[in-house]
Amino acid sequence: MIRVILPQHLRTLAHAGSEVQLEVESPVTQRSVLDALEARYPMLRGTIRDQVTLERRPFLRFFACEEDLSHEPPDALLPDSVVSGSEPLLIIGAIAGG
């Protein structure tokens, strides 16, 4: 089970808690996790990555295991501890303005 932590505004949109758990088939990558997240919460489509290009929105970052994975390729494998569910993938709004 993959654990994903959402920022506050996306929790509100998704009517979800701070952490959601997703079944994701291997290989577990940023892309496959976001595909699963958007399939379960369609209202989040376009809020994390562009609807058409599927590129990460500029002011969002992906972290796991205290590492910034934002610039990793979308098909790169996520860390083993994320795959095993011992660590979550964090989607974080960049600190930029008010």
Binding site: L10, H15, Y41, P42, M43, G46, T47, Q51, V52, L60
Partner: protein, 393 residues
């Protein structure tokens, strides 16, 4: 007794203000969508309980919200609130605004003029204005940045561009104003469902007479001395356009500088700034029952976006322009330095006509006597981006 419902979009959420026909005691609900920029909220003339809201954020992009109960509850079209997430792919994409690039529907452009004169790709940023159909609650238009017009015929679940606007030929000459290249005004003609007007900063005003298939610039008579050709066909920074629905085709415009009027559906314009102390500004609106009575809020200049001399004054003309009187009763007349943005004024259709506007300081003022006197409904909201009003039975 009739009621009014004022729909307020702010930098940090939406608010719904309601009162009976006296308009002296108000209930305030909100913030809805707290923390998000709400560029516009507007109700359907065909079903007053149907509201559409444009919710956006620099972090999370564009969201469309819809209410089917007059603003009590909201949902993203296609994903009703509280409904368990459905398995499988999403059924709707209410925030998916994709510019039309097909050959079949005109000649959509891929670039427009950038600040430095080079060509720049069209990039969707947000919805500035939502205009529900006059007859069908499920049909709604959206004016977006970068400038284009989209239409939904299924209550906001899916959007299609009316690409004839961008494709008619002058698009490569359009360029962003300071606030972005936004399509901010959409006016529907109640006497002719095929006709509508739109305005873009900084391209100008356009009209379609065939339901949005084809468009033409309607900027003859505009003079903008800050552009290379002051009388160019496009390139004018039109801030807002208003029309009394009882007299279609007579249009009033607040341009960057200059207040303008057209009596021929936009084919030609003439200046009606008259005795205004400054004719820079953003809002303009028309009295609901007196089509020659118009309202503006002059702003000091394009360099200083606040009211002149520290005084918040609405100016009213009862003669269709040129002769203006300052309306000050109930408005601050010292140490006031707020702005009033282009979509932040509205009129109700009660007798006497109510006038409403919101400020960058978070006040929403109402006049229940056509502007003779004013009182704040609320004083301390986030900066107000838009104000609309519904007159309810």
């Amino acid at each position: 007794m009739s009621k009014v419902r004022v729909l307020v979009g702010t930098r940090k959420g939406a608010f719904v203000l309601t009162a009976d026909g006296k308009r002296d005691k108000w209930e305030v609900s909100g913030p809805h969508f707290a923390g998000w920029e709400i560029y516009h909220v507007k109700g359907s003339p065909a079903d007053p309980d149907r509201l559409y809201a444009s919710q956006s954020s620099g972090w999370f992009g564009q969201i469309i919200q819809r209410s089917d109960d007059g603003g009590k509850t909201w949902h993203q079209p296609g994903t009703p609130p509280g409904e368990p997430p459905a398995p499988g792919p999403p059924k709707a994409a209410s925030n998916k605004f994709v510019y039309d690039a097909s050959d079949k529907t005109g000649k959509p452009l891929t670039t427009h003029q950038w600040y430095d004169g080079t060509q720049h790709p069209w990039e969707f940023k947000r919805v500035w204005h939502m205009e529900p159909s006059l007859a069908d609650p499920d049909m709604v238009y959206a004016g977006v940045e970068d400038a284009a017009i989209f239409r939904s015929t299924d209550g906001g679940e899916n959007w299609q561009e009316l690409s004839g606007l961008r494709g008619h030929g002058t698009g490569p000459k359009w360029q962003p104003g300071a606030g972005g290249m936004c399509l901010h005004t959409i006016i529907l003609d109640p006497s002719n469902p095929k006709r509508m007007w739109i305005a873009i900063s900084a391209a100008g005003a356009f009209r379609t007479d065939d339901g949005g298939g084809s468009w033409k610039p309607i900027n003859r008579g505009l003079y903008s001395k800050y552009i290379p050709n002051p009388t160019a066909e496009v390139g004018h920074c039109v801030h807002h356009v208003a029309m009394n629905p009882k007299r279609p085709g007579v249009l009033f415009m607040q341009k960057h500088w200059d207040v303008m009027r057209s009596d021929d559906a936009g084919d030609s314009w003439h200046k009606i700034s008259g005795n205004l102390p400054t004719d820079f500004g953003f809002v303009i609106d028309v009295h609901a029952h007196e089509p020659e009575t118009i309202y503006v809020v002059p702003i000091k200049s394009d360099a200083e976006h606040f009211v002149l001399d520290g005084k918040l004054r609405v100016f009213r003309s009862r003669t269709g322009g040129n002769e203006w009187e300052a309306l000050t009763n109930g408005l601050p007349q010292r140490d006031c330095y707020v702005n009033v943005l282009r979509d932040a004024m509205a009129v109700d259709s009660l007798d006497k006509c109510g006038i409403y506007f919101g400020t960058s300081g978070g006040q929403v003022y109402a006049s229940a006597d056509a502007g003779d006197s004013w009182a704040p409904i609320v004083r301390d909201l986030p900066a107000v981006l838009s104000v609309e009003v519904q007159t309810l039975p």
